[in-house]
């Protein structure tokens, strides 16, 4: 079945389908707000008449390339094409400002390719046992996982933790707007019906992150690349990733693969966690936020290995980990393929064809990316008086398409003001984004746990997974101090800079 799947994936029809899917994926990835989910939903009615492997491969190739596409705008103009590319901009954009946009795209390309392959190998090897582990994760585990996620703030704001915590508080409170998920009580809508559903995470990214930084670039004038030229090439970045940072690619891929399995964790957290991991293990954490290659490689690897990992609960249990995997599950069902052990037994060719197809797609987007990367890099040479207004239009389109509501554009502009002030006053934006992501997860699972336990908090200390997560949380909190202590003992003091947007 494994070899038959490989042969199917290597057929000309599948290869052409993968190339088309990859091209479409890069396009939807580039546009903020129009991610793989929208792309898959639009393609769904078109693939119905195609054979299952061809139809599913078109979706998977689009999905695989979306992460790479999203990183392009993140690097070039500091506007993440999707939530997963937020962390990429922390060091990708400074590289573009230094005239190294093409190198940064090359780093992203290499790490995306490696991550796609590693993620798929994890998918091939570990699907059943990992899916079982994911099922064992209940509300208490997710609560502690959210707390673990919040400890990343320490890593993202080590120079001025107070500002980072204030930003995180702002993000968390934004996430509490709208219906309380368990009681249905409407909070902080201030009589505005539009806020009943709360503020979408994507909207917060567009407002706080994208609009704020675009206004900053507009006031600086000139071009995004301060050098007014593009140094290096995509190929140089591609080689650099393999030559100097292979471990960063592997670490990022593993972070994405592990977090991607957990339904609901999503792409955004994995890339932030990977960024934090890279900063913690780096011998030069002071370079992060100023164009450190590992700051691009880690998040890019993580957000690209999330996709195959997301497929594990979908294929084995029929549990989608997010909106995109839910659409993909719909496609499987449309073809009459029921997730579970029978899918692997009865439709093994298709399943293995898909697995190999993702690996081929991971290589294909390097080929497609190489063709266009030089052109993309030149975007940083366009004068801001043309580039910024046009990019702000994509922000408006992205804000509107999230829910199809005009007030979302108003909210994006309002949050843009806050984002801009945070930027100029050196408040890290990443903790705010993290707060918006983790707030609902933390609150929902916290109360679900208390409902299960009858109100006792002891539930957060029961079970081996919970303890592992607490240990990781403690480690994440203590590790920076431990490193700092060790360095002081050596008589060498490492200055740690504020990074994370």
């Amino acid at each position: 079945m494994v070899l038959q799947g490989l042969l199917l994936a290597l057929s000309p029809a599948t290869i052409i389908t993968i190339l088309v899917g990859v091209f479409l994926g890069i396009i939807v990835g580039i546009v903020p707000g129009v991610g793989a989910g929208v792309g898959l939903a639009l393609l769904l009615p078109l693939i119905f008449s195609a054979p299952p492997l061809i139809g599913l491969m078109l979706l998977l190739a689009l999905w695989a390339a979306d992460g790479y596409g999203a990183s392009i705008t993140s690097i070039l103009i500091n506007v993440p094409g999707g939530p997963g590319a937020v962390a990429t901009s922390f060091d990708g954009y400074p590289m573009a400002q230094q005239g190294k946009a093409a190198v940064a795209i090359g780093l992203s390309m290499a790490s995306s390719m490696v991550a796609g392959i590693i993620g798929t190998v994890v998918l091939m090897v570990a699907s059943p046992p990992l899916a079982e582990l994911a099922v064992k994760m209940g509300p208490p585990e997710y609560t502690v996982l959210a707390v673990f996620g919040l400890t990343i703030i320490g890593g993202l704001t080590s120079k001025d933790p107070l500002k980072g915590l204030i930003a995180a508080g702002f993000g968390l409170l934004i996430s509490f707007m709208g219906y309380d998920l368990l009681t249905g009580f409407v909070r902080y809508s201030f009589g505005w019906q539009h806020l009943y559903d709360g503020i979408d995470f994507g909207l917060a990214v567009i407002g706080i992150f994208a609009i704020g930084s675009l206004v900053d670039a507009a006031q600086e004038g000139g071009t995004i690349s301060a050098m007014s030229k593009v140094d290096g090439s995509t190929w140089e970045g591609f080689k650099l990733a393999f030559k100097k940072y292979p471990m960063a690619m592997i670490r990022g891929s593993l972070v994405g693969a592990v977090l991607g399995i957990l339904p609901g964790i999503g792409i955004s957290i994995s890339s932030l966690v990977a960024y934090d991991v890279e900063k913690r293990v780096s011998k030069h954490p002071e370079t992060f936020g100023k164009g450190a290659p590992e700051g691009v490689i880690g998040p890019e690897a993580a957000n690209n290995s999330v996709q195959p990992a997301n497929l594990i609960p979908v294929l084995t249990l029929g549990i989608p980990g997010g909106a995109t995997s839910a659409v993909f599950l719909g496609a499987l069902i449309m073809y009459g393929l029921t997730p579970g052990l029978d899918l692997f037994r009865n439709q093994g060719n298709v399943v293995w064809g898909m697995f190999w197809g993702i690996i081929i797609a991971s290589i294909a987007y390097v080929a497609v990316g190489m063709l266009f990367a030089g052109f993309f890099a030149k975007v940083t040479l366009i004068p801001v008086e043309y580039l910024i207004p046009v990019t702000l239009v994509t922000c408006f389109v992205g804000a509107f398409t999230l829910n199809g509501k005009f007030p979302d554009m108003v909210l994006a502009v309002a949050m843009g003001v806050v984002g801009y002030l945070m930027l100029v006053l050196k408040y890290p934006v990443a903790p705010a984004v993290l707060g918006v992501v983790l707030g609902p997860m933390l609150e929902r699972n916290y109360f679900r746990s208390l409902l299960i336990s009858g109100g006792t908090h002891a539930i957060f200390f029961q079970g081996s997974i919970v303890w592992v997560l607490w240990a990781l949380t403690a480690f994440a909190l203590v590790y920076p101090y431990f490193v700092s202590y060790k360095e002081r003992k050596k008589g060498k003091r490492i200055p740690i800079e504020v990074t994370g947007g």
Binding site: I166, G169, R187, I388, P389, V413
Partner: protein
């Protein structure tokens, strides 16, 4: 505006935001208010500490072109109005022209071309190809 003043104004804004969350949150039933009240209360303490620290800190002054920042945000508000009245494609084109002009573009013809192309791109890609519903202008009806 001096950096320290701006820092304090921002912190006071944050204090107001967290304060409103706390006060409003206290009127909610126990469960929906638990985490928001906790987070806003902790955040208030943090902001107060930061205010005290700000008074004691010496800041490097900002080199911000506030006129261009003002133009940018004023144009964003103008864009909202333009999109509401003219629809996404025309509103976007007008916004690109106005902001580009305010940011100092000297080649008006090039700018008009870029603005027109943006409007056309938005219409063709989002309305026609992706078939996404875009805001319809009150005046234009499309």
């Amino acid at each position: 505006m001096k950096r320290k003043t701006l820092e304090l104004v921002f912190l006071l804004g944050m204090l107001l935001f967290f304060g409103v969350y706390l006060v409003v949150g206290l009127s909610y039933p126990p469960r929906p208010r638990e985490l928001p009240v906790l987070v806003s209360a902790v955040s208030i303490v943090l902001v107060l500490v930061e205010i005290v620290l700000t008074f004691r800190k010496n800041f490097k002054e900002l080199t911000v072109n506030w006129v261009k920042v003002g133009y940018s945000f004023a144009s964003l508000v103008f864009a909202l109005l333009a999109i509401e009245l003219l629809g996404m494609s025309l509103g976007a084109a007008l916004f690109v022209f106005v902001l580009g002009w305010l940011l100092g573009s000297k080649k008006k013809l090039t700018l008009a071309f870029v603005a027109g192309s943006t409007g056309l791109f938005v219409y063709v890609v989002f309305n026609v190809l992706l078939k996404l519903t875009m805001p319809i202008g009150i005046i234009t009806g499309f």
